[in-house]
Symmetry: C2
Subunit: 357 residues, 2 copies
Amino acid sequence: MTFADARAMFPVLQRLAYLNTGSFGPLSSGTAAAMAEEGQRDLADGRSGLAYFERGLALPDELRALKAELVAAPPDTVALTASTTDGCNVVLSGLGLRPEDEVITTTDEHFGLLGPLHASSARIVVVEPTAESILAAVSPRTRLLAVSQVLWTNGRILPVHELREASGLPILVDAAQSVGAIPVSVQGLDFVAIPGQKWLCGPDPTGALVVADPDALRIARPSSFSFSRDDGFDVAGAFVPRPGAARFEPNWISVATLAGLKVALTQAPDWSFERAAAQADQLRAMLAGHVDVVTSPEQATLVAFRPPDGRTAAEVTGTLMDLGVVVREIPRRELVRASVGWWTNEEDLDRLVAGLS
Amino acid sequence: MTFADARAMFPVLQRLAYLNTGSFGPLSSGTAAAMAEEGQRDLADGRSGLAYFERGLALPDELRALKAELVAAPPDTVALTASTTDGCNVVLSGLGLRPEDEVITTTDEHFGLLGPLHASSARIVVVEPTAESILAAVSPRTRLLAVSQVLWTNGRILPVHELREASGLPILVDAAQSVGAIPVSVQGLDFVAIPGQKWLCGPDPTGALVVADPDALRIARPSSFSFSRDDGFDVAGAFVPRPGAARFEPNWISVATLAGLKVALTQAPDWSFERAAAQADQLRAMLAGHVDVVTSPEQATLVAFRPPDGRTAAEVTGTLMDLGVVVREIPRRELVRASVGWWTNEEDLDRLVAGLS
């Protein structure tokens, strides 16, 4: 696949300098077509019949396998969810943490992780987002590390595998800004929550959760996908769990969404990570002469900077939007954040830089 | 709206005797068109920009109000969910029940309620699905009644308001087979979990949860919709809840799904309940000469019967499917269940009865 081919997959890029994949990735024509086709089928044939339900159950198997391949996970450790938040909630509601337990997190986490942490009833220890600070905060009461692999505020990469190894503690990784953006292997990690609608360019809402040892996590939120089909459940709801992490799947997912996600997961070119990294570096360099860039070199695919000329982040974001340049502000940080993907070209970056002056 | 107009809204009815709304309702052309339009917009314009997010937040407000009107609930007691199961999990994970607490349920509940009950850690007391049995099981340890308003197995209506009043206990109502099928008022009920994709003919997965007193239920599963926009959250995830039951909303819902659901919630004619009830009665009468009907007269819109001639429920369901008649079997009960809606006509019923001989 050439870069021109790749770019042509995403109609939104024809009109906009779309630099907001950290919120929602661009949708490809293939993904949209697969969704539209299934939507039409639902309308004409009804959401019923053996073939329909078989498809609704076979597609999740395929998607778990595709997601597993993407992050070097065994397929039976992957569950399909509706979001990163969903995955964090599944983990934190299942761990049974108590007020005397501590969880270490950082100052730069998204509410999708922080909210579930707060609900866990554990004491949340918040430190600067560096490996040193995180490891220094470990105490005999620490039960879990819960951090992003790439910070949503500024794109910094945290060494989650090193943290796991050095601390010897279970780790919950918020992979909202990493999977699909940079190469990720979940090997050695306990819990990894992944969105489908950001860097994987899937339909919304979609996501996945990796649970390395499904038998060690309580199913706090059972659904009709939780129990073993062979064993069923008793009249009081007790059940034998389905094999693997699929037992944690909280809801039915529409066949249209599954079909769209399948296309999205198989469309990235071999050179995606390399190109995205190069484009992010280029954007950093281009912005450096104009604004105060807060993202360090050689991080992931988010580039954050302070708004120039005493303007607010909201003002800058609004002005850029009027110019067809889509970025976002980071609330309470007064930062503007641009998301760079394997589909981004030089013109997109030029339009962003030109829009700042 | 005439019956012919109503029937013409649902393309699937042109080909199939579609009698499986207890699983998924038929989709109308209007619902599908609204979804397709938003899908096309997502593709061309991207899932971003002020207008997009405003729409993604305004539509839920409209939908909560529409759902509230449908069940006579104050709008601020309604949360949008992905399913009935979702709602049951929100309630049972938030109540903080302990092993010494008891919850009374019936032998005829769906796993969407039973699974969350099992996960609650309370002792689950299972009784026959009659008001007498339920009330007789109340003990000083009973903390909750958790029952269906219409049993998914055979369509029987349970008097949930009477149960609430007679017991003085909080009640969680599984409304999977009632809302949209029969007139429902949630007044006086504590928690009501409602699906969107069954009798309301909405996209899947959709649902709603009514929580009469949102402040009295813990948010066990926070999302980015849980906190007050004015107050935000602190670095450890502590937050001031958003006003009303919307705080319990577990996930973003796609704009296409929201737009489709809006059409679905506004399309039912004034005469919908009356006609559905009449058709269900007619089906009972038509079946009575051929099979053993287990649904009592004057119940809801599900009619269940034993398979004739020593055949299994799976065999009968499969044969009917081959004839273009869509019904389902109820596992472990050896029942065949037909769902009758306001769109059902005599020909649909004739096709079912003819297919049984």
